[in-house]
């Protein structure tokens, strides 16, 4: 697959490198990882006619593409089949590029800086403990609904200064956005999504109106009062931004906690290892982030051409960049499918993406994970999967697991 690539037309390359990829795969995660590994070895960038996108699988190709956002690539539409999920509008800020995106990042980065997040760490710890209080006496926990899912949602409300009582309502909308109506028809899911979208927008609009009338010392007020080039952010853009910030932080944190707890239930020696010394936790979380890697961005060639691996692709071509493929490239991670807390000065994982769209919630996410594991370990030093219960793998545009039911000695 090497000689004279430059002489070949894109259509020729698409034919030669045709190998369909299922974005919503059946089977197990390991089967998909094996497929990705096989591609990486044989032909690291393949074309999936199904969905019409290129699939990158190596660390070097994926990191190179993501770093070139605004330098040859843009993120809109950030979905491999190119179909825009919620209407035609680009999602703010994840599908914005260029100067407007920079303006949003200049607004958001300071609001989610390490110092701002450190200031709410105690609140995050209290949220973790409240959730643990809810099940600790029963000796069992259904990890996703009782901890991993509500935890980031409540933290988001804390961060934004929104009423904590609204967590349940918010979680319901997010479930519908992300998962639709389980077992329902497509039509039922569509209707439910429209309803959830209307309700969440109305809810956010009320908050925006309130902050305009009664400004407070919170992040929401700062964002509502922001002007770009003398213009305030429109109500509809504010609503989009808040919904995206909420969604981006929920599914991902949830997935990392749920996958980690499922793994740790069966590897209790690792649970101990994470807390062996004060310095053990941080690198262990980085390794769990590498291994769980839930997000899968797509980039689009935005200039006349851009280099993708050994090819030159024209404007409009989409490249799907599953971050978990980069994170399991054996070039940088020996035994990539294994969780190893003792990797020595490992290559940085790309779980939070790279380049201009690098996760704006990275400091919040790392703090949430640190606090969650610390409090779970303090209060549940040993646990196992409930007998007969097996975690269920969920593979869509975010990878996750649910049905993580653990059992432990009930305590206080």
């Amino acid at each position: 697959m090497t000689e004279n690539v430059a002489d070949k037309s894109v259509e020729q390359l698409k034919q030669e490198r045709h190998r369909d990829y299922e974005v919503y795969p059946q089977g197990t995660m390991q089967e998909v990882f094996d497929d990705l590994a096989d591609r990486r070895e044989k032909c690291p960038i393949t074309f999936s006619e199904k969905g019409g996108f290129w699939l990158a699988t190596s660390y070097d190709d994926i990191s190179s593409i993501l770093r070139r956002n605004n330098r040859g690539f843009v993120s809109f539409p950030n979905i491999p089949d190119g179909k825009v999920a919620f209407g035609q509008k680009a999602q703010i800020p994840i599908e914005l590029d260029g100067p407007i995106h920079t303006q949003y990042r200049k607004l958001l980065d300071p609001l989610l800086s390490p110092a701002r997040i450190a200031a709410i760490e105690d609140d995050i710890r209290a949220v973790a403990n409240d959730l643990i209080d809810g099940f600790i006496e029963t000796g069992q926990c259904d990890v996703v609904p009782q901890f991993a899912f509500p935890f980031p949602g409540i933290n988001f409300l804390t961060l934004m200064g929104w009423p904590l009582e609204d967590a349940e309502k918010m979680n319901e909308w997010v479930e519908i956005f992300l998962k639709g109506v389980p077992g329902g028809t497509e039509e039922e899911t569509l209707q439910a999504r429209i309803r959830a979208s209307q309700e969440s927008r109305a809810y956010i609009q009320a908050i925006v109106d309130d902050r305009r009338a009664n400004p407070r010392d919170d992040i929401t007020t700062t964002i509502v009062q922001t002007e770009f080039d003398g213009e305030p952010i429109s109500d509809s853009d504010l609503s989009d931004l808040f919904v995206l910030m909420l969604m981006a932080g929920l599914d991902t944190v949830q997935s990392v906690i749920a996958q980690s707890m499922a793994y740790l239930a069966e590897h209790q020696d690792r649970w101990e290892q994470m807390f062996a010394s004060p310095d053990s936790l941080e690198p262990a979380i980085e390794e769990l982030l590498r291994w769980t890697s839930p997000a899968m961005p797509t980039r689009n060639v935005a200039e006349e051409t851009a280099t993708v691996g050994d090819m030159t692709l024209p404007r409009g071509e989409r490249v799907f960049c599953p971050l978990n493929a980069a994170n399991r490239d054996p070039k940088y991670f020996e035994d990539p499918d294994e969780v190893k807390f003792d990797r020595v000065d490992p290559k940085p994982h790309v779980t939070f993406s790279l380049g201009a769209h690098r996760c704006v919630g990275v400091h919040l996410a790392r703090t949430e994970l640190k606090v969650a594991f610390q409090e779970l370990h303090r209060r549940i030093p040993h646990f196992r999967l409930v007998e007969g219960e097996k975690p269920r793998e969920l593979m869509a545009l975010t990878w996750s697991v649910d049905n993580v039911k653990i059992a432990f000695d009930p305590a206080g």
């Binding site: 070097d60 990191s63 190179s64 770093r67 990042r105 200049k106 980065d109 300071p110 989610l112 800086s113 390490p114 110092a115 941080e282 000065d345 290559k347 940085p348 994982h349 790309v350 939070f352 790279l354 380049g355 201009a356 690098r358 990275v362 400091h363």
Partner: protein
Amino acid sequence: MSDHPPFKIDEEFCVGHGRCYALAPESFQPDEMGHGVVRDYRDGPATREPGVVVNACPESAIELITVGGDAEKGSQS
């Protein structure tokens, strides 16, 4: 102070992952955006091999300035 590695951050590529100031707080600090800044005053000896710090930046944005003025850099591709 002189035993500190001569780090330099390429601002064009730093997007604020924060690995540098997490790993080597004696050499780096965050600015208000969370982007890394090389500290101009150090309150302790360097604790990490410079190469380890350079490799820890996901964007390969950290360079080591060598005496001749050349920079050794992570593999920015």
